[in-house]
Symmetry: C5
Amino acid sequence: MYIGKVIGRVVATVKDPGLASQRLLIVQPLTALLAPSGRQIVCTDAIGAGAGELVYWTRGKESSFPFLPVEVPTDTTIVGIIDRVNRC
Amino acid sequence: MYIGKVIGRVVATVKDPGLASQRLLIVQPLTALLAPSGRQIVCTDAIGAGAGELVYWTRGKESSFPFLPVEVPTDTTIVGIIDRVNRC
Amino acid sequence: MYIGKVIGRVVATVKDPGLASQRLLIVQPLTALLAPSGRQIVCTDAIGAGAGELVYWTRGKESSFPFLPVEVPTDTTIVGIIDRVNRC
Amino acid sequence: MYIGKVIGRVVATVKDPGLASQRLLIVQPLTALLAPSGRQIVCTDAIGAGAGELVYWTRGKESSFPFLPVEVPTDTTIVGIIDRVNRC
Amino acid sequence: MYIGKVIGRVVATVKDPGLASQRLLIVQPLTALLAPSGRQIVCTDAIGAGAGELVYWTRGKESSFPFLPVEVPTDTTIVGIIDRVNRC
C-alpha cells in the first residue's frame, strides 16, 4: 500500500455502471516523510475519507476487494485513514 | 484510476479476436492540474469517449471487468468521462 | 495497452514448459509519436507479428488470455499490429 | 520480490475491515547493494518482521496469498526476513 | 517478460511457508543491449538458473503459474534461460 493525501475530487456524469455509486477522490502519493512523490491518482473510497486527510491506498485487483460481491472496475482504492506515521 | 485525455486513435486490422469490436483510443496521462505526464497508452473504451475528452482510466485486470462475460485481453480501459476536477 | 516496435528475438532452449511453443519477441515501447521510451521487453505473440512491425501489447494477467485454456506464464503479449496512429 | 528495510509503522484507526488485525509497516525499497531506491511503501506482514530488519516483499495479488482464506485487501506484503545477500 | 542477469542470492531463514523450498535469486534487469537498467529484484526460479546466467523473468500473478497447484506468494519468477538475443 501507499501513503497519500486527499487533494480533490473528480465529478463524472458518464461512467461505467460499476462505478455508479462511488465517490472518486484525487490522491497525491507521498513519501514516508509526507513529501509529494509522483503523479496524482483517482481513487475509490472504501472507508469514508475526507478532503485533506492522510490515507493509505492499494493498487491493482485488491482494490476491488472491499466492494465485493460487487465487481467494481477500480484499481486504486483508499483502504485506511492514517492517524500517525512512526519512524524507527 | 488515472486522469487522461483522448489524443488519438489506433487503427489495427490484425488483432486478437477478443479485441475485434473494440475502439482503441490513445490517451495521454495527466496530473491533477491536467499537465501531461508520462508515456501515452492505448485504451479500450467502456463508455463512449470522444476525441479531446478528459477521462479516467483503469490499469490491470479490472480493465476487463466492463466487458464481462467476454474476456477482452485489455489492461487499460476508459471507464468515465470527467466533467470537472475539484481541488481542495 | 502500449505501443511498441518489434526489434528482435530471444532464443531460449531452457524454459518453463508453458512457454514451450511460444516465439519470444523483443519489443521497444514507443510514445504516441513513435519515439522510443523505456526499457525493452520480451513479449509472447498472439497474432503473428514480424520484425520491425508496429504493434500494441498488454501487460499483466490479461496477457495470458489469448492462450487460454493453456495457462502460459507470460505477462507481456503482442495482441495487435498497428496499421496507423491517428492523432486528434 | 523486492529487497527492503522496515523503517517505521503506520497507525490507523479507521480502515477496511479486511485489514483490522494487520500491522502496517513502512518499508524503504533497497537495491542489491542495500542503498535506498524509490518511494517508501506500507506493507502488511506475513512473518513477524521488526524495526530495522532487512526483508523482502511482494507486490500485487500474490501479497494476499499468505492470509488466505481471508481476502485481505493488501498489495504489498513482507514475506521473508533476509539473513544475508550473496552477490556473485 | 523482462531480460535480466542472475547476480546473487538471498539467504532467508524466516519466510512465508509458501516460499519454503524456493531458491531466491537476485536479478539485475537489463535492456535489449544487455545494459543494467533499474533496481535489482528477488526472483523465484522455475527452471534452474545459475550464477551469472542471462534469463528472462515475469512479473505479477503469472509468476506463480509455474508452481501450481501450490500457491507460491511470488510476483517475480525466472521462466527461461536466454541463449542468444537477436536484434533486427
